[in-house]
C-alpha cells in the first residue's frame, strides 16, 4: 500500500473509533489499524457505557448498538471480612427514554462501533500491529511502521488511540514510561446465568441493570475496587488494585478476585453461574499529574494512552470517546482550512480538552490519587472495619444501653485512628477533593 491517507488512527477502541468515525464522516480519507483479529478482541473494560459522550458522536446509537442493561441502581459497598456497610441509590427516574448509562460487553460493542466507522468511509485494517512511527527529517510524524509485508503507511497526521499499554508512543519518546504506582491492574470474569435469574437476584425487570462497587478489606489494605455489573444474561465480576501494591502485599490478582467472589455478600449473587472468560487489563490512574504531552508535530494522543481516566468516578470510556472526537474535530478543521498538522496548529486540540469536562474533572481530582494511595491502609483496611463494627454494634439489640454503645463506637475509632487522625483524614480528603 503506497497511497497516502489524510489520517491514520492506531487502535480500534472507543477513542480510536470516535476519532476515525468523526474524521471519516467529515470526508477525510482515514485508515484505522487494529492488532486484534476483530475490533474488540484485545479490549477489556468493566464495562459501563456513558451515553452522553457517544450520543454526541452517534446520536441514534441506541437503535442498533449492542447494549446490555440500562443502569437504574448503584450500590457502593464497604466490606470487611463478614459484612457490608453500603449506600444504595435506585431510581425509577433512570427508566427514561434515553438512559444515561448502560452495561455493555466490549467485544460486541467495539465490533458495532467499528461497523459504523467503516460505514462512515474509513478503511479498517485488523490483524495489523503498529511497530513504530515514521518521521521526516524535521522529526514530524508522517506515518507508521506495521508488521505487515511492506508495512510502512503514510498520512498527514497520526492519531494514537493505542490504549494504556501504548508501546508506539512510549517507544517513540512521545511520553514517559508508566510507573507501577500510577496504574491499576484489574482482572475480571464473565459469569453467565439465565436472564430471569439475573433479574430476580438483583430485583430487576426488563432491561434494568445494577452496578455494585465494593472497597475494603478484600484488597488487603491497599487501594482497589471490586465490582459486579449486571448484563442481560451475565455478570461482569472483577477487582482492580494499583500495580505497585501487588508487589507489597504478595497477593495475586486472581487470588483477590476469588476472595471477593467468596465474600458472604457476593457469593450468593454468583451461585450456579458458568464462567466463560477471564481477562486482565491495566487502567491508567495517575490522573491529571500523569497526563503526558498529548500533541506534537503530526500526532495526537487520545483515550487511555493519554491517561484520560477519572479513577474517582470510574470514568474512562467516556473520556476516550470525547478525547477521540475532540482530536478528530481539530484535525478536520485544519484539513478543511488546508493548514498543516504542526505542533502549533494541533495545540487547538489541547485547548478543546481544557475547555471540556475531561480536563476540568481531572484537574479537580489532581490530588486524589496521591491521597488515596498514601492513605490506603486507613481507607481500605481500618475504616471499613471500624464502620462495619460500628454498624453491627448499632443494629444488634443485646441489652446494652445506647449511650454505652455510642461510647464504645467512639472509643473504637479513637483507638483505631485517634480523633485527631480522623479529623486529619477528613481534612486532607476535603482538600484533595476540592
Amino acid at each position: 500500500m503506497t497511497e497516502k491517507f489524510d489520517a491514520i488512527v492506531v487502535g480500534a477502541g472507543p477513542s480510536g473509533n470516535a476519532a476515525a468515525y468523526t474524521m471519516a464522516k467529515a470526508g477525510l480519507k482515514v485508515l484505522q489499524l487494529e492488532r486484534g483479529e476483530y475490533p474488540g478482541s484485545k479490549n477489556v473494560q468493566g464495562a459501563i457505557l456513558y451515553s452522553d459522550s457517544l450520543e454526541k458522536i452517534i446520536p441514534d446509537f441506541r437503535e442498533d448498538a449492542p447494549l446490555e442493561r440500562h443502569i437504574i441502581e448503584q450500590r457502593m459497598w464497604m466490606l470487611d471480612e463478614t459484612s457490608v456497610v453500603g449506600m444504595q441509590y435506585r431510581s425509577e427516574d433512570f427508566n427514561e427514554e434515553k438512559p444515561n448509562r448502560y452495561t455493555i460487553i466490549r467485544a460486541q460493542f467495539d465490533k458495532w462501533f467499528s461497523k459504523r466507522v467503516r460505514e462512515a468511509g474509513a478503511v479498517v485494517l485488523c490483524e495489523t500491529t503498529v511497530t513504530g512511527l515514521i518521521r521526516d527529517s524535521h522529526g514530524k510524524v508522517i506515518g507508521v511502521k506495521t508488521d505487515r509485508v511492506e508495512g510502512d503507511l503514510f498520512a498527514d497526521v497520526v492519531v494514537l488511540g493505542e490504549g494504556v499499554n501504548g508501546l508506539v508512543g512510549q517507544q517513540a519518546g512521545l511520553r514517559r514510561e508508566l510507573t507501577p504506582d500510577n496504574v491499576a491492574l484489574a482482572v475480571k470474569e464473565m459469569h453467565f446465568l439465565p436472564q430471569d435469574v439475573v433479574e430476580s437476584r438483583f430485583n430487576l425487570k426488563g432491561d434494568e441493570g445494577v452496578v455494585i462497587e465494593a472497597m475494603g478489606t478484600v484488597t488487603k489494605g491497599v487501594s482497589g475496587l471490586g465490582f459486579i455489573y449486571t448484563n442481560r444474561e451475565s455478570l461482569s465480576v472483577g477487582i482492580g488494585c494499583i500495580v505497585s501494591d501487588f508487589a507489597k502485599t504478595g497477593a495475586t490478582p486472581y487470588g483477590l478476585l476469588d476472595a471477593f467472589k467468596s465474600h458472604p455478600s457476593v457469593k450468593p449473587l454468583l451461585a450456579g453461574s458458568e464462567i466463560k472468560e477471564y481477562s486482565g487489563h491495566l487502567i491508567p490512574e495517575g490522573g491529571y499529574r500523569a497526563i503526558p504531552d498529548v500533541y506534537g508535530d503530526g500526532w495526537v494522543v487520545v483515550g487511555d494512552a493519554g491517561q484520560f481516566v477519572n479513577s474517582v468516578h470510574r470514568e474512562g470510556s467516556n473520556m476516550a470517546m470525547t478525547t477521540g472526537s475532540l482530536a478528530a474535530e481539530t484535525i478536520v478543521k485544519l484539513h478543511k482550512g488546508r493548514e498543516d498538522f504542526s505542533k502549533k496548529n494541533l495545540a487547538a486540540y489541547k485547548k478543546a480538552l481544557d475547555e471540556s469536562y475531561v480536563m476540568k474533572d481531572l484537574k479537580k481530582y489532581k490530588d486524589i490519587p496521591n491521597f488515596i494511595h498514601g492513605n490506603s491502609q486507613t481507607l481500605f483496611g481500618l475504616y471499613p472495619r471500624l464502620l462495619g463494627q460500628a454498624a453491627q454494634s448499632w443494629f444488634r439489640v443485646d441489652g446494652t444501653d445506647k449511650r454505652t454503645k455510642e461510647k464504645e463506637i467512639l472509643n473504637s475509632f479513637r483507638k483505631g485512628r485517634s480523633i485527631a487522625g480522623v479529623i486529619g483524614d477528613a481534612f486532607r480528603f476535603a482538600r484533595a477533593w476540592r
Binding site: 486484534g36 500491529t129 507501577p180 466463560k276 486482565g280
Partner: protein, 104 residues
C-alpha cells in the same frame, strides 16, 4: 467491642482453570515476551511470580525466572514493573495472534 486486624488466609488460587475458558491463537515459536538471561532475579522480576494475572512467570530450580507466555492476557503489567530493571523484552504479538477476547 474488638477490632481484629489479622486477615484470613485462603488456600492459594490456581489461575490455570481461569485461563482455560479463554481463546488464544498462539504464535508458535514467536513468544512476544522474553526474560533476559540473568544470574539473580531482581525483586521486581521476582514479584511477577504473583503479580502476573495469568501466572505466566515461574522460578526454576536454579532460581532463574522463566516465562511461558501462551496464557498471557497482554495487559503489560510485567513490562511496566520491569521497565526500570530492563530484565524483560516485551512486544505485542504479531497482528491477529495472542489472546482473543470473546467478551472483553
Amino acid at each position: 467491642m474488638t477490632i481484629t486486624t489479622e486477615t484470613v488466609t485462603a488456600p492459594p488460587v490456581k489461575v490455570e482453570g481461569k485461563l482455560y475458558t479463554n481463546r488464544y491463537l498462539v504464535d508458535a515459536g514467536h513468544p512476544h515476551i522474553k526474560v533476559k538471561p540473568h544470574k539473580k532475579p531482581s525483586a521486581a522480576l521476582l514479584s511477577l511470580l504473583h503479580t502476573c494475572p495469568a501466572g505466566c512467570y515461574s522460578q526454576n530450580d536454579k532460581g532463574h525466572v522463566e516465562i511461558a507466555s501462551d496464557g498471557c492476557l497482554e495487559c503489560g503489567t510485567c513490562r511496566i514493573v520491569c521497565a526500570p530493571t530492563g530484565e524483560i523484552e516485551w512486544s505485542y504479538p504479531r497482528g491477529g495472534f495472542g489472546v482473543l477476547f470473546k467478551f472483553g
